[in-house]
Assembly symmetry: C2
């Protein structure tokens, strides 16, 4: 199934089913919001499935992805991993850290009371903070008890999403050094318009990983197309890690961290910090600057046959009103 | 005003006004839940004030604090500071860190989809994780825009609460070393039954700090009575810090970190880790163990004349069902 949320004046918006080709949509009959669907997923899934099948056979209204909110416009919990070793090793090298001592997944909790819409102007205070995008995949779980196994965790993964994890790079190392993680360095994220059930990826949902390239462009120039499969921990590991000492509330979103591949010099990167890291390693200094007001990032993943999956995220950096 | 939330079968419970002496309560007429009150605080405050004045003059039903939920049973955001230098310096000494290099407040984001009720059994997986309490004060804000000043931040502080920030000390240093902050080391917190407006503290709300001792007992033995005033950053600073790159959603809870005083050898501590730190500094090794199943912690703060403020938190450590 594919889901989007369209605005209706309420904070959680109105849940819609979207046809597989993302051309048509209809209000979900079984649940008013995606949060409500996730809170009662097992009971509602057959009804949603039936409506999705009917929608794919015809009917519905044209799907206007430009109007969509994030599929989950707000969540009780957002936990972001950093599961791509090629990215982690490069960042450790550049920042002089050594996280390979830690055999557990890396994860922090970020702001979740709002996920910015897929097509939106995103407000920032200052370009001096080092404004950067981070292309990620993520999963959304239904309610999961504390201390579950990796196998149990997998069964709670109900949806896959594509996320832009906005980051302020000049603030990040200061906050990392405290050991407390990021608050100022991690503004709210954006989400691509469509959340999908794992079966929509077919063989490209593999080992609890998204085996698809994430195409990232910056100001309409291709920036990277790294594949989501190279995670050193799968989403099942990340969910189990998150649930160790807390039950997971329905609608918890868990991110992969910046998608990154060993051959980043060929496929490119999903964030500017990684490109700058490569420049520092290769040439001793970074030559690519962070984003400035008016800059735009776009992100999209498709199946090899061109079928759209999450739709397109296109967000523009603007100066926050003071 | 003083507020409590009583169970009504819904996740946010039913908001009640509580008399100043905490003996009587009445369902709030102006708002069904504390979250709803916070989302429209300016408009609802006069109505709540009028009902509170009437309740203090008489009426209402007996207030059963033993049945209360956390005043805010769930929140969109929980950001915990660590604003007591006496605690921070001791922990840095013991763990070989040096956070005095960082002139900004220390803060991490923790799980907020549930705050445990004030009187409750709290489930933990293993005593090997180093189960510890942390007595804190906290504030709850209404919606605040991004990048506000300290003065603006102060005006958004609507309520003060008392929090028990459960912590797993054996996991904490591992997560700190990643730089990503705590996920597994910070299970959900508990909250004392009553949230109060700052005016209820009178002269004991001073410089955006709670100038009252927090009495902490462990298995009915007094453990500490540190005063909340010695914060190196006030709650106004903490709120402004939190809001730098994110607007604060109504109902954001911001914590002080473990209440700690320079003279901790005299007044005691608000968490076991601090007592162990003192033992390590004084004797080369810690002799106090962390909590075990069946252990109980209680926390309470009163005005000097004995008037109760937040009511009493009394939580017991139990083994999580597997």
């Amino acid at each position: 199934m594919k889901f989007a949320t369209l605005p209706n004046g309420k904070p959680d918006g109105r849940l819609h089913l979207v046809s597989r080709d993302l051309t048509r949509a209809a209000p979900a009959e079984a649940a008013e919001t995606l949060q409500a669907a996730l809170e009662d997923w097992t009971a509602l899934e057959p009804k949603l499935q039936a409506q999705y099948a009917a929608l794919n056979a015809g009917g519905g209204a044209p799907f206007d992805a430009m109007r969509a909110l994030a599929p989950l416009p707000r969540a009780w919990q957002w936990l972001d991993g950093s599961a791509f070793e090629s990215h982690g090793r490069l960042m450790d090298k550049v920042f002089g850290m050594n996280k390979e001592l830690h055999p557990k997944p890396l994860m922090y909790q970020g702001v979740s009371d709002r996920f910015y819409p897929p097509v939106a102007e995103i407000p920032f205070v200052s370009t001096a903070d080092g404004i950067d995008f981070e292309g990620e995949f993520g999963v959304i779980v239904d309610a999961a008890p504390m201390n579950i196994s990796k196998q149990e965790a997998l069964a709670h993964i109900r949806l896959i999403v594509q996320i832009n994890d906005w980051s302020l790079r000049k603030l990040a190392p200061i906050e990392m050094k405290t050991g407390f993680g990021w608050v100022q360095a991690k503004p709210p994220c954006g989400m691509a318009p469509v959340a999908v059930t794992p079966d929509e990826l077919g063989i490209h949902w593999r080992d609890a990983r998204v085996d698809l390239p994430l195409e990232v462009s910056w100001n309409e120039k291709p920036f990277g197309a790294a594949n989501g499969y190279e995670m050193s921990f799968g989403f099942d590991d990340l969910v189990a890690h998150a649930a160790y000492s807390r039950p997971l509330v329905a609608g918890t979103v868990i991110g992969s961290g910046t998608v990154s591949n060993e051959n980043f010099r060929e496929v490119g990167s999903s964030c500017i910090a990684e490109r700058r890291g490569i420049e520092i390693v290769d040439h001793g200094a970074a030559t690519t600057d962070y984003m400035t007001f008016g800059d735009r990032v776009t992100m999209e993943a498709r199946l090899p046959d061109g079928t759209p999956v999450f739709g397109r995220l296109a967000q523009t950096v603007v100066r926050a009103e003071s």
